[in-house]
């Protein structure tokens, strides 16, 4: 049957190509008499795809190497070298883009916007460190993250942040994460990338605001270890949770702990946890039990309150979105006109809005509607984070030895050599006698 059709089809096609051509033609440039040839517009190609796959390979290799250095080689020096390499490669060579810190936004954006197909490389950058963390803790933070490496590098004289404050501030990354993700989901923008304080250094250029912020972080970072990682980095937050379930954990020493507390001194990131006294003192037991009970009740309450509060926030939150901001400005213009200078971005965007106010309004309103749900989720999330943290703080830990907290430890390997037993094991120190002063 299809043979017969072929002829007709071919005929129709040929008949029409001719017509298309002249229909698509447009007023041509002049006929030059001196045989002048039109130059073609140059189109320098973007970075090759295979180069990006190359980056991914390097990334995975670095991750693997980091794990090996932490668990098998147990060498701070080599880990430091690896982090320097990562700083050079992912930082100054790849200019801080592509980095896993922002990648959850791409993933969420792709999940909520079918028109955006997330590149495979981004997926790898987003998921690989999490999977590693699920088995071996925050190897990524230790050896691969350029931001982390930069902060680790500038750490000169660590001051201890009191542990209770450390705990309290450790929820901020999750708030940042939540905010970043709702803005990504609504398609407004990638806040986490927008407010990354170190990428401008990698690019050697950036807005004054972000450069100053970065400089401040580095100054603080000279005395407080990895301030961004501990108190802001949303991806660090993800890895922190992931490594709570990690299969293996960083150990100060494979041998017995003599409880000398040297490792606690050696950790600049407040990740070392002291042993809890054996047994439980009955005089507190009931109180603790009761508190835990109340907190468990409080959790859903907090979440609900969060949702309620969030539902009130959408109009404020959505103002960040250009479409909403445009209509807001347009509407304000109707009430009390402001004279913008000619051809200024504001004037032009207003002109665009004025051409089709309904469409502008619709776009803005749709976004605000998206934001209602988004903000409720964010509120609930904040409530959940706080509630869980409270509960976590009220669970009784039973530790017999000094050991790094699974979540907080960035696996920088500093504590290894601080442990006398480890030094003995490595033959840095005679098995007998007092720990020699360094």
């Amino acid at each position: 049957m299809f043979r017969r059709l072929k002829i007709i089809g071919a005929l129709g096609l040929m008949l029409f190509l001719a017509l298309i051509v002249c229909a698509e033609q447009r007023f041509p440039p002049p006929d030059f008499e001196n045989g002048y040839q039109l130059p073609t517009t140059s189109t320098p190609a973007a970075r090759h795809l295979w180069l990006q796959y190359g980056d991914t390979a390097v990334f995975l290799a670095a991750l693997g190497l980091a794990v090996w250095l932490i668990y098998k080689k147990r060498s701070r020096r080599w880990l430091f070298c690896l982090s320097l390499f990562s700083l050079a490669y992912f930082g100054f060579y790849r200019r801080g883009c592509i980095c896993p810190i922002g990648s959850p936004q791409n993933v969420v954006y792709a999940l909520f916007n079918p028109n955006y197909a997330v590149p495979v490389t981004v997926l790898v950058f987003c998921f690989a460190p999490i999977i590693v963390a699920l088995f071996a803790g925050r190897a990524f933070c230790a050896g691969v993250c350029p931001q982390g490496a930069l902060q680790d590098l500038v750490l000169i004289k660590p001051i201890k942040v009191p542990l209770w404050l450390e705990h309290a501030l450790s929820i901020i990354p999750y708030l940042f994460l939540g905010a970043g993700l709702i803005y990504a989901a609504t398609g407004t923008g990638f806040m986490i990338c927008r407010y990354d304080p170190f990428v401008p250094f990698f690019r050697l250029s950036g807005s004054t605001f972000i450069l100053t912020a970065g400089a401040l972080f580095l100054l603080i970072g000279m005395f407080i270890g990895r301030p961004y990682c501990r108190f802001l980095c949303p991806y660090g937050g993800i890895l922190r949770v992931a490594s709570l379930a990690s299969k293996w954990r960083v150990r100060v020493t494979p041998d017995v702990c003599t409880q000398c507390q040297l490792c606690e001194q050696s950790c600049p990131f407040g990740a070392m946890r002291e042993p809890t006294p054996p047994g439980t003192n009955p005089k507190w037991l009931t109180a603790e039990r009761r508190r835990l009970g109340w907190l468990l009740v409080l959790l859903p309450v907090l979440v609900l309150v969060g949702v309620w509060a969030g539902s009130k926030l959408n109009s404020a939150a959505s103002k960040v979105d250009p479409a909403v901001a445009l209509y807001e400005r347009y509407a304000r213009q109707q009430i009390k006109p402001v004279q913008y200078s000619a051809m200024s971005p504001e004037a032009l965007s207003l002109q665009r809005a004025a051409e089709n106010p309904d469409a502008t309004l619709k776009a803005a309103r749709d976004l605000q509607h998206r934001f209602i749900l988004a903000c409720e989720l964010l509120g609930g999330w904040i409530g959940l984070v706080i509630g869980l943290k409270l509960i976590a703080l009220s669970l009784r830990q039973n530790r017999t030895d000094f050991e790094p907290d699974r979540g907080a430890c960035v696996a920088c390997a500093r504590c290894f050599t601080s442990c006398p037993n480890e030094r003995v094991r490595l033959g840095l120190m005679p098995a007998t006698g007092e720990p020699a002063s360094l």
Binding site: K160, V338, E346
Partner: protein, 340 residues
Amino acid sequence: MKPEFELYDRREFFGVVTKTAAVIGLVAGAKASAEEQGQGTANPFAYDISRFQKTDPKLVAYEEVNRWPIPHKEARRLAIGPNDQIYLCAGNFINCLSQTGQPGVELALAGPACCVAVARDGTIYAGLRDHIEVFDSKGAKTALWESPDPKSWLTGLAAGEKDVFAADAHKLVVLRYDRHGKILGRIGHKNAERNVPGFIVPSPFLDVIIHRDGLLRVNNPGRHRVEAYTFDGDLEGAWGKPTAAIEGFCGCCNPIAITTLADGRIVTCEKGIPRVKIYSASGEFESVVAGAESFPENAHACSDLNDCIHGGIDAAVDSEGHIYILDIVTGDVRVMKRKA
């Protein structure tokens, strides 16, 4: 060692907390207030011709008496028939409309209609991109004049008693046909010994009209002037100067369309700063029919769309001296009447 938490005590901590809150509050408030009185940043790169976009009201001699939409999109040109019907070419159609825009005959063409002219006897000449189709007054096709050149791009037509003139914007020539489609001559092509400088036409806007003084008038956009030719192609004179000021022709390539009033004065249309003006037959600026203020969309379209090939305006004059202005962007026709 001394327990860390004497480094901060709780009161101090809450002090810090309240301070931060205050700071954040202040910042937010400041930002909000800034938003409120929102002074926009000036654009240091603005291409500023605003001073030319205002027309001195004293110069405006015409007022709009009527305005009606046209039946099809992508209008190109309009012409006035023997008894004052308006012929519009838009899209693949030529429409004959009454002076009030009531639709009459519609001719469907094979391709986009680029220009139209109507002879005194009612014969309709439709310029398609590269050839001319002829219809009788009832709209029956009577002839098809073969394309003079595959690359031809006809954008202007004028029908006289014995001749039909077609302006070819790409081949830079005005073709002289007889009423049967025979090419009699090629006018205005670059020619040193007849000292014809030749047309410069960067965009498809070359127009030709037959003036009452028996000469042709052709706009030469690239040279910013209107040129007068005999039917045999001798350049008899030219006038016009390049300036965005009201008395001249603005931008890179104007005027884009011309027509003539009964008394021989010439109406010119410009794009970029869309405006319709009247010059005396010898080229003295006389008055403004409609200034840039009258074509906000058109002015905007030119700065906004891919190019002005989709912008632009055309004009025609009826026996009572009304000027019909076709706005290609808004797709409507304005009827302008001289102020009392």
